[in-house]
Structure formats: structure tokens, C-alpha cells
């Protein structure tokens, strides 16, 4: 026995870098919403970069360690406490046998990634240990953690040094307003010119329905679609299309009212027109936005997205080489 769950937190689930190859059957990638933070926590500890960790949203769990283990927490600013004593994030911590690890309320960001030396041991399901709760798949019984769960770890991979910390230059900073870069397209020709222009000008705030499946936004002006005769099979709302695949990161606007960004537990397809897609290097950020915080969508070209992708990858390389 390694770790007992005393309190589960708001939504804590086991995640790794996700599974691929099943989206055509409706099974999404899952995996940590902030992949950079997930990888950073593992790298700090000397775990395999893609080891399974705990993704803790807004309010963290309370865990009792039945044996001593090293851990590292990266991502949202949720101060860990060992037996009540505050500890730094982005640093390797030693948790003694019998100690209780808890978290303060989130100060910035939305999701903290707690890596445990060795990585969490749950069965690999379709190539990944990630939890896909909507499909009751992966993780621990296909669901978020609950009180009374017991977590085991795999054998230790590397020898992490207690106190090893991430260089300040690599630590992320979180705000209350974000710019998310979007490649417009897919069905954005169906919007009126005014609606399209306004969509990118206004500030949209994150609604309470913001989870691993998708982030819903409100507060902007409802979008108007170009009037037309609905194509056969689409349904008659102007935002309807003949049901198609949804790219991860795509933005759909049911009935034109509230845009939704699909994330790593996305529904794989459906009948709402998508008007663009968040670029891959900004997807981690989406998972760190809290309800009520605001975003502005910024249209970019593919060239700009590929340049941002290079920057993202260079940043990961730096994490891999951190001292």
C-alpha cells in the first residue's frame, strides 16, 4: 500500500500523456490537459516523462502516504502542505511514511500535476493509464478519485534529489486574462462578417461548464450565421452541420450563443459547426484557465502556429535538460 485518498478534491484523476489511435471509434486522447506541467513534474522527479500522475483541478486532494515517497508538483499555484507545513511547487519534495499531503486553495492557474516517484500504477488501457471518465475507461476504475481509494506506484526509475527545483526561468506564470491563438476555418465561412470580426474582438469569460471535455465561454455577443437553406441531414439551426469529426481544440458554437473549446476528453464528433481551432501550443494554457477568467481569441496563420510550436518544443527541451 502506498497512498490513501482521504479527500478526493474537486476533480482529481490519473493522467499521463494520453492514448492515440481510437478517436475514430469515439475514444478521445485524454491525458493531462496541461501536458507541459505533467511532463515537468515527471522530469523533475526523474520519472519517465510520460508516467501517470494526478491531475488536480482547483481544489486538491488530501493524501496519506503509508510509505515514504518523493513527489513533485507542477502547474497551477496550489501550495502543497506536508503535515500542514507549506512546501514549494516545482520542486522535489520528500514525503515521510505516515505523512499527510494536502493542498491550499488555488492561487493562480487551474490544474496542478502531482508526480510521484515511479509513477502511478494502474492498468494500461488502450495504450495509456489516463482516465476517460465519460467512457468509464482507464485510470482507477475509469473515474476520478474518491475517498478511500488506494494508489500504488511503479518501481522507482531514477534517483530524484530532494530539493531539486525548476529554474525560475522555466516556471510558468498564470494570469486572469489570456490570449488564445486560433486558426480560423472549418465552417467559419458560415458566420456573417460582423459576427466573425466581433468574435475575435470581444472578451469571453469561462463559464462554469469548463472541464476536460470542453471549455464553454459566455459574455460575448451571440454569433450570427449567414442565412441559407439547411443542407439535407444537418438539422435546421443555422449552427448545425451534417455530423462530422471534431478536431481537438476546435471551437463550436451551438446556436451561436456560447463557444466551446473541445479538450482532451472531447466528444469526437457531432453536428455543430466549428469556426476555428486553438493552435496546439496554446492547448496547455486552456486547461489552466479558471471559471470567470477571460480570454480573447486571436486569429493566426498556420505559419505562426508552426513557429509557436517550435517555441513550445524548445521549451520542453529545456525542461528535459534542467540541472
Amino acid at each position: 500500500m502506498s497512498i490513501e485518498v482521504i479527500k478526493a478534491g474537486l476533480s482529481t484523476s490519473i493522467q499521463d500523456t494520453g492514448r492515440s489511435g481510437n478517436y475514430h471509434l469515439g475514444i478521445p486522447p485524454s491525458g493531462g490537459m496541461d501536458q507541459r506541467a505533467l511532463r515537468a513534474a515527471n522530469l523533475l522527479l526523474g520519472n519517465a516523462e510520460d508516467a501517470a500522475v494526478l491531475e488536480c483541478a482547483l481544489m486538491g486532494p488530501v493524501l496519506r502516504f503509508t510509505r515514504e515517497l518523493k513527489v513533485a508538483a507542477c502547474g497551477a499555484e496550489m501550495t502543497p502542505r506536508i503535515n500542514g507545513v507549506p512546501q514549494p511547487i516545482n520542486q522535489v519534495l520528500h514525503v515521510p511514511a505516515g505523512a499527510v499531503l494536502s493542498f491550499e486553495f488555488v492561487k493562480a492557474g487551474a490544474r496542478l500535476y502531482l508526480a510521484i516517484e515511479g509513477g502511478i500504477d494502474v492498468p494500461v488501457c488502450l495504450g495509456s493509464r489516463s482516465t476517460y471518465a465519460l467512457g468509464s475507461l482507464g485510470g482507477l476504475e475509469g473515474r476520478p478519485l474518491k475517498v478511500g481509494d488506494v494508489l500504488e506506484t511503479l518501481s522507482v526509475m531514477g534517483a530524484a534529489l530532494v530539493g531539486r527545483s525548476m529554474p525560475r526561468s522555466l516556471m510558468p506564470t498564470f494570469g486572469t486574462h489570456y490570449e488564445l491563438r486560433v486558426i480560423p476555418g472549418i465552417y467559419d465561412h458560415r458566420l456573417t462578417d460582423e459576427a466573425r470580426e466581433r468574435f475575435y474582438q470581444e472578451h469571453w469569460s469561462v463559464a462554469s461548464e469548463a472541464d476536460r471535455i470542453g471549455y464553454r465561454f459566455k459574455g460575448g455577443t451571440p454569433l450570427d450565421f449567414v442565412t441559407r437553406k439547411p443542407p439535407f441531414g444537418a438539422g435546421d439551426d443555422p449552427s448545425n452541420i451534417v455530423d462530422a469529426c471534431y478536431p481537438i481544440g476546435s471551437i463550436q458554437v451551438p446556436s451561436g450563443s456560447e463557444p466551446i473549446i473541445l479538450h482532451r476528453d472531447a466528444v469526437s464528433g457531432g453536428g455543430y459547426a466549428m469556426i476555428g481551432t486553438i493552435i496546439s501550443s496554446d492547448m496547455d494554457l486552456v486547461g489552466q484557465i479558471q471559471p470567470h477568467q477571460t480570454v480573447q481569441f486571436v486569429p493566426v496563420t498556420l505559419e505562426m502556429a508552426l513557429a509557436a510550436r517550435q517555441v513550445y518544443q524548445a521549451d520542453l527541451e529545456q525542461l528535459r535538460r534542467m540541472p
Partner: protein, 298 residues
């Protein structure tokens, strides 16, 4: 249907990792066959950098690694495949016919649809009454008859794990169309038989949904616990190209089948079948009859 007009596919980049390809704005089996033929060929080619290929009703998408494969190269390849597919016109599919029992007008979807009446076009009626009315049927019974009398073609699997989207094999003028809910529900019973646009679906898991709800099937179609013998280790029962026969059942049979499913002893009736698009186009009604009779021959 040689008069069928072939329109060029529309390619749209979606972020830096996805390519979205619309074969046709409207649904047709022609568009489905073109989409699945291209995606099957792309699968066989196993092009470096192609990560996931998802076929849909009248479109498809490809996830790719832009560090390995440029989207321009991918689009050029897909355009070439599209031309090959159109010229060779392979229009036969080795597939299966599957018997799906349905308890229409069941108590569980009824309870759910009443809870979400404020999100519906017709708050005074039920989803079945609304669908029957706007499609010109005199009664819910007549509507159920039309819904179950002709077979359905699985033209996409997705939304949530293993959910089949199905297109009814009748001439277009007889196809049922209904709008989706004004705002999606946050709840749908597991194995609900739903309807949106021209598609019937079976919700594989409990969760959000925007389709009208007509009934439930006792047949498990998604199996994360891997206890159902008719579902392989992909955990998903349906595949694009499958043909479904809805069979209305009474509550007593439904209850019996649910018990079988719970015990892992459910065995759906399945028969091998070769679907031929041209034969179907020539006489959809005769073709539907053939599908119907596939079980009586066994």
C-alpha cells in the same frame, strides 16, 4: 444514379495538427462511400506523420504531425486518392446486418425528456410526438413504424465511445429529419435511441446529448469492463458500414434482454452481408426487403 454530381472536396486546416475534409455539405451515401474509400486507402498507405484517420458521415479528418508531414503534401496526396476513388468507383462493402431491439416510448427517456423540456422546440409534447408531427405522421405509432420498418446504415462512429450514427436506407423523400434540441441536454440515458438531422444514433454511455430521444435498446454497444462476449477488445461494437435493423420490442422482452446483458450473455443477431451501393440506388425498397430477410434465411 449516374446523374449524381461530384463536387470537389473542401480542405480546411484545423489548428496545426488536424486537416478537416468536407466531401459534401449534405448527407448522402455517395458522400459516405467516397469518404470511407479515401480514408481506407490512406490507412493502407501508412504515410509517415499521419497519426489518426477519422471517417465521418460526409466528411473525414486526419490528425498529423506537422514536424514530419506538411499539410500541403497531405492535401496533395488526399486529392490524388480522391480522384482514384471517383474513377474506380468501388461501391461494394463486405459488412454485417445487426438486429437491434428497441423499446420505443420507454419510461427512462420519457423522464429525461420531461426534465429538459425548457431546452426543446415543443415544450408541450414529447420528442416522439414532435418528430411525428413535423414529419407529417398522423400518430406516434405510424412514426415508430416508419423508423423501424427500413434498415439503417452506420455512417459514422463517434461523439462518445462507440456511438453509431445511422442513415436510413430509404429514398430521400421518405427520410425523417428532426432538429437537435435548442440547447443540448446534460443527461441522456445509456443506450438511448436518438435522432438529429437525418441521423438515428444509439448513445453508448450516459451523458450530454442534443438528439431527440425515441427509446432505448437493451443491447450493450460499448464495453469498457470487457464482460460482453459480442464486443472485441476495441471495446466498441459498431463499425462504419454496418447495417442495423431496429426491431420494436415490448417491455417484457426488453427486461429479459437487459438481464442477459447484465450477465454477459447477450448475443445479438448478426449476419454477414455484401452492400452494393448501385443495387441499393436502383431499388431502395427491394434492397430494404433483402436486408430484412437476411435473418429468416439463417
Amino acid at each position: 444514379m449516374s446523374e449524381h454530381i461530384i463536387t470537389p472536396a473542401r480542405y480546411s486546416i484545423a489548428g496545426d495538427e488536424f486537416l478537416f475534409v468536407e466531401i459534401s455539405e449534405e448527407m448522402s451515401l455517395e458522400a459516405f462511400f467516397r469518404s470511407i474509400s479515401i480514408t481506407q486507402r490512406l490507412e493502407v498507405e501508412s504515410l509517415d506523420g499521419v497519426q489518426e484517420i477519422c471517417a465521418a458521415n460526409a466528411s473525414y479528418q486526419v490528425r498529423f504531425d506537422p514536424d514530419v508531414l506538411s499539410v500541403d503534401v497531405l492535401i496533395a496526396r488526399l486529392k490524388a486518392l480522391d480522384i482514384e476513388v471517383i474513377q474506380q468507383s468501388v461501391r461494394r462493402l463486405e459488412t454485417r446486418v445487426i438486429d437491434v431491439p428497441v423499446l420505443y416510448n420507454d419510461p427512462w427517456t420519457h423522464e429525461t425528456l420531461m426534465r429538459f423540456r425548457d431546452r426543446h422546440q415543443d415544450p408541450e409534447g414529447t420528442d416522439l410526438e414532435y418528430a411525428a408531427h413535423i414529419n407529417g405522421f398522423n400518430s406516434v405509432e405510424d412514426f415508430i413504424e416508419a423508423h423501424s420498418a427500413s434498415p439503417w446504415f452506420v455512417s459514422m462512429v463517434g461523439f462518445v465511445a462507440g456511438l453509431p450514427f445511422m442513415y436510413q436506407m430509404v429514398p430521400r423523400e421518405r427520410q425523417i429529419q428532426v432538429p437537435k434540441y435548442l440547447r443540448p441536454r446534460t443527461d441522456t440515458p445509456k443506450q438511448t435511441v436518438g435522432y438529429g438531422g437525418c441521423f438515428s444514433c444509439i448513445y453508448s454511455v450516459r451523458g450530454a446529448g442534443g438528439y431527440q430521444m425515441f427509446g432505448v435498446t437493451p443491447m450493450p454497444i460499448y464495453d469498457p469492463a470487457q464482460t460482453q462476449q459480442h464486443i472485441d477488445d476495441t471495446m466498441i461494437f459498431f463499425r462504419p458500414g454496418d447495417i442495423v435493423r431496429y426491431r420494436p420490442v415490448e417491455r417484457a422482452e426488453y427486461d429479459q434482454l437487459v438481464v442477459l446483458a447484465e450477465e454477459g450473455r447477450y448475443r445479438p443477431r448478426v449476419a454477414a452481408f455484401t452492400f452494393d451501393l448501385d443495387a441499393f440506388n436502383r431499388d431502395p425498397d427491394r434492397y430494404a426487403q433483402e436486408v430484412k430477410e437476411v435473418f429468416s434465411e439463417h
